[in-house]
């Protein structure tokens, strides 16, 4: 009899587990569907919005050509050149057809996003793939480092909320959080780069070097990345610090913390296993949100530090009204942000069993 009850209980537990797995799987599928839809919508909006911006890339091309020709202009020759480029860039087709061709080539043509003006005749895809690691390198590293440091620091100053140093940290973090990233970057360039001369103030590595697996190159790469990353980290980290502090303070009043203390657990254990862990979940969600919100800030930093990433490329493409490159950057940026957000979203159930159950 007891064995039957146990067997039924086991069966029921297995069924619950299977149902739970199914629900998590369905959640992941739903989430992935939203991801794909958002990606398509972003590509579509980007395609049409960039074409609504006044300014024809062919006129800018003509401006370059006129400058190259200087005083002697040949209108017929210019027309022939423009016609040639219009054909290459598919600009003679009606807009809806351009859109269909763009989607077709992007999806079925092995991510063929057309040629670029910025680095003609380079393909836009190659251009973006070459620049993307620079952006993702400083962006993801600085955001995750800012998150780690901000979360740790925020937990600590939340835990020690009445301490004088904690209050000072709050004031400092508030000031840094509202400071525009470009101001922080300029400040670092001026003081760290030119006044104190402790770190290089621009470029991805020393101008005379070529990428190679040598200590000279790698150390130069690291040195050149410090200031741009710091510019990002200072502002973003301050935001994370304040967020985590607020979460900690809200958790501190919970009954389970009082119970944990009453059990005689050490303050560090209470902080680590009870307060910090419970405050962490919204902070992880915050990371997903901040990833989307701060990529544009990284673009500005790239320009100031002459970092050859997507931000610099976007400004160049905008100046030439290079639709293909602008679209590709938006596409890849959204892809990167959505993917990172998706990973964080899918990781949440792993961090918090309650989310698994809700799912």
């Amino acid at each position: 009899m007891t064995a039957n009850i146990d067997a039924r209980a086991d069966e029921s537990a297995t069924e619950r587990q299977d149902a739970g797995r199914r629900e998590v799987f369905q959640y992941a599928i739903r989430r992935f569907g939203v991801y794909l839809f958002t990606l398509w919508a972003a590509i579509t909006v980007a395609f049409f919005i960039f074409r609504l911006v006044p300014g024809d890339p062919m006129n800018i091309l003509l401006g370059n050509l006129t400058r190259a020709e200087g005083r002697q202009r040949d209108a017929a020759a210019e027309e022939a050149i423009i016609a040639h480029y219009r054909e290459i860039f598919g600009m003679d087709d009606p807009l809806p057809l351009q859109y269909v061709n763009y989607l077709r080539k992007a999806v079925l043509g092995g991510l063929d996003l057309g040629p670029s003006f910025v680095e003609y005749p380079a393909q836009t895809k190659d251009l973006v793939f070459r620049r993307m690691p620079w952006t993702l390198g400083i962006f993801t590293t600085s955001v995750f480092l800012a998150w780690l440091i901000g979360t740790g620091l925020g937990a600590l100053i939340g835990w020690m909320q009445r301490h004088g140093l904690s209050q000072l940290a709050v004031i400092l973090s508030t000031l840094l959080q509202i400071t525009p990233q470009y101001l922080v970057a300029l400040g670092l360039i001026i003081y760290a780069g030119y006044t104190l001369r402790i770190l290089p103030a621009g470029g991805p590595y020393a101008r005379h070097l070529q990428p190679e697996w040598s200590w000279e190159f790698i150390s130069s790469l690291i040195q050149h990345a410090i200031l741009p990353m710091l510019s990002n980290m200072i502002v973003i980290g301050a935001g994370f610090t304040l967020g985590m502090r607020a979460l900690m303070i809200s958790v501190l009043g919970e009954d389970y913390l009082t119970f944990a203390r009453a059990k005689g657990l050490s303050p560090f254990t209470v902080l680590k296993d009870y307060a910090f862990r419970n405050a962490l979940i919204p902070q992880v969600t915050g990371l997903a949100i901040i990833i989307g919100a701060t990529l544009n800030g990284t673009f500005i930093i790239e320009i100031l530090f002459q970092y050859p990433g997507l931000g610099t490329l976007f400004v160049q493409a905008m100046g030439l009204r290079d639709f293909n490159t602008m679209q590709a950057i938006v596409l890849f940026s959204i892809f990167a942000v959505l993917t990172l957000t998706l990973i964080v979203d899918l990781a949440l159930p792993l961090l918090d069993p309650r989310i698994r159950r809700v799912a």
Binding site: I60, N64, L65, G70, A77, H84, E119, I189, L320, R321
Partner: protein, 561 residues
């Protein structure tokens, strides 16, 4: 040979001292970009356009290539350099036959490419053929060879032209014009995709490296340059794209660049911080002016357009420019003193082409039928006149000041003119498309002894419907009388008396009709650091984004530090 202990110690000491001394001497030599001696390196901080090509040295991709690498400036050498006058370079001279149907070009003998191979007549003939054969690929400098044949003898190429053309030599004398390419490099290559990775051309430098990440190109002087008299002093040239002006200013203050452009607003600060920094002011060959959209009332009325011309205070624009001598009023469409060979002084006076006279403007408006009603000028339909004046801001004060001064003066006579700032791509689109009332513009075409380009753009061929890009003066001006003059000018020898009389007629018609009006001539400010190099001075005409820079580097001399 035996040394005592003391002797050995003395030798070791001397060797150690000598090593330390040599190290100290070596350390005195400042090195840049790895191991380049600063005193032998000339660094150009370029403010290139948005094109960002650092691994292709393809001269045929003129509309899309990057001119920040220095390739187009000092490595590609033209047939002639046009700077104040024509300077022989890869070609020596040209000559026409009696009726202008043939032109003979004498090429320079003894030139070579920067890979050491000789530059021969074969290269010239190959390039002519190559350009003609690839004309359908949208490459530059090919269309002028349409229906043209040629033959070569000795060091002369004779071009047989399909019709009289006294201006065929412009295809060899302009800023960026036909120049031969090495046959052994380009043969069998596609001109639209070939990258010419070793940057082979006839200039005095060889490519060391070019890096798209750091936007830096390093060149080293070659000892086998074909013209020893024009061997430049810098052993190394580094061309790089400078950071944003806010950051670049620190590089200049520290003396890290030798030549480049910076906004005028930071020049004074830079000069105070680094006494070696000098501004070099050079006259831009293209005077500035305003174009009126002649299809829109009341701008379709030449009297109204002339009245607007009278409201332009050219001297005030010059005075408000923040660098003295930066902007000077233009007395006729060309820069410099009016040349009466081509210029009708009586017409200039009669139609007051550069006069600032608001009272005369008001009288002209009254006479033309634009009365002042309740403080506002009204058009022929009785509606108050309101116009937009489009401009861009690239940091030069003259480009913006005019719009506000014109608006202020127009308001005093009852006309509303709204200055509208556009970003450059929009400006470059709306202008040629004719989508404007009044627009700021530059007028290039002042070739020595031939001002046809100042009128050519007024031919009605360019008066396309609004919204379609026009290659001429985009105000959609159309006048059969002007067309007839331009068509005659196209076939006449500009040096002939007939042509000169036609130029004066065109000038009179332009002054009376005012399809566009002149504003000022502008001097281009360039920053030069004299700490390591000297020799560049005000008055040496040049524009550093063009092959004229090839001529300029010959002026450089090491500074006595």
């Amino acid at each position: 040979m035996y040394f005592s202990k003391r002797g050995l110690m003395a030798i070791v000491l001397v060797v150690a001292l000598l090593s330390m001394l040599s190290m100290a001497v070596a350390q005195d030599e400042e090195l840049v970009f790895g191991d380049l001696p600063r005193s032998e390196t000339f660094i150009v901080a370029s403010q290139a356009p948005h094109n960002d090509v650092w691994d292709s040295f393809n001269y045929y991709q003129a509309p899309t290539y990057n001119n920040a690498t220095g390739y187009a400036n000092v490595i590609v050498e033209p047939s002639f350099i046009t700077s104040h006058d024509f300077h022989a370079w890869l070609a020596q001279s040209w000559e026409y036959n009696e009726d202008g149907t043939e032109m003979t070009l004498v090429i320079t003998e003894g030139a070579n490419w920067n890979d050491g191979m000789p530059l021969t007549m074969d290269d010239w003939l190959f390039t002519l053929q190559y350009n003609q054969e690839n004309a359908d690929k949208g490459i530059a400098w090919s269309s002028f060879l349409r229906d043209v044949t040629w033959s070569a003898e000795g060091n002369e190429i004779t071009f047989m032209l399909p019709e009289p053309n006294w201006r065929f030599h412009y295809n060899f004398t302009g800023i960026g014009t036909f120049t031969p390419v090495p046959k052994h490099v380009w043969e069998g290559q596609d001109p639209t995709t070939f990258k010419n990775p070793d940057a082979i051309h006839s200039g005095p430098y060889r490519l060391v490296s070019s890096n798209a990440d750091t936007r830096t190109t390093i060149w080293e002087r070659r000892d086998d340059y074909w013209d020893p008299d024009r061997m430049p002093a810098p052993k190394y040239m580094v061309w790089l794209k400078r950071p944003e002006a806010d950051v670049a200013v620190f590089e200049w203050e520290e003396g890290n660049y030798d030549l480049g452009r910076m906004p005028n607003s930071v020049m004074i600060r830079m000069m105070s911080a680094n006494p070696h920094i000098k501004p070099l002011v050079h006259q831009d060959p293209c005077p500035r002016g305003l174009i009126f959209n002649t299809t829109i009332p009341p701008l379709d009325d030449n009297l109204f357009r002339r009245a607007l011309g009278l409201l332009l205070n050219r001297q005030a624009v010059a005075n408000l420019a923040n660098v003295p001598g930066y902007v000077t009023p233009v007395l006729w469409p060309n820069l410099g003193d009016p040349d009466e060979t081509y210029y009708d002084a009586a017409a200039a006076e009669e139609f007051q082409v550069t006069t600032f006279d608001p009272e005369a403007a008001a009288a002209l408006l009254d006479e033309a039928g634009y009365p002042l009603v309740d403080g506002a000028r009204v058009d022929k339909n009785g509606e108050p006149i309101s116009l937009d004046a489009l401009y861009i801001d690239i940091g030069n004060p003259g480009w913006t000041v005019w719009a506000w001064l014109l608006s202020e003066q127009a308001q005093l006579v009852g006309i509303e003119i709204n200055p509208r700032l556009l970003d450059i791509p929009t400006f470059l689109t709306q202008g040629p498309n004719g989508e404007f009332d009044i627009i700021f513009r530059w007028f290039c075409g002042n070739l020595p002894g031939d001002p046809i380009a100042l009128f050519e753009g007024l031919h009605s061929d360019h008066a396309l419907p609004i919204g379609e890009r026009s290659g001429g003066v985009p105000g959609r001006y159309s006048n059969p009388e002007m067309d007839a003059i331009i068509e005659q000018l196209r076939t006449h020898n500009p040096a002939s008396e007939e042509a000169q009389a036609l130029f004066r007629q065109a000038y009179r018609l332009w002054a009376e009709e005012a399809p566009y009006v002149t504003l000022y001539g502008e001097n281009e400010g360039v920053v030069f650091n004299t700490e390591y190099w000297t020799g560049l001075e005000v008055g040496q005409a040049w524009v550093h984004w063009t092959p004229a820079a090839r001529q300029i580097i010959d002026f450089l001399e090491p500074a006595n530090r």
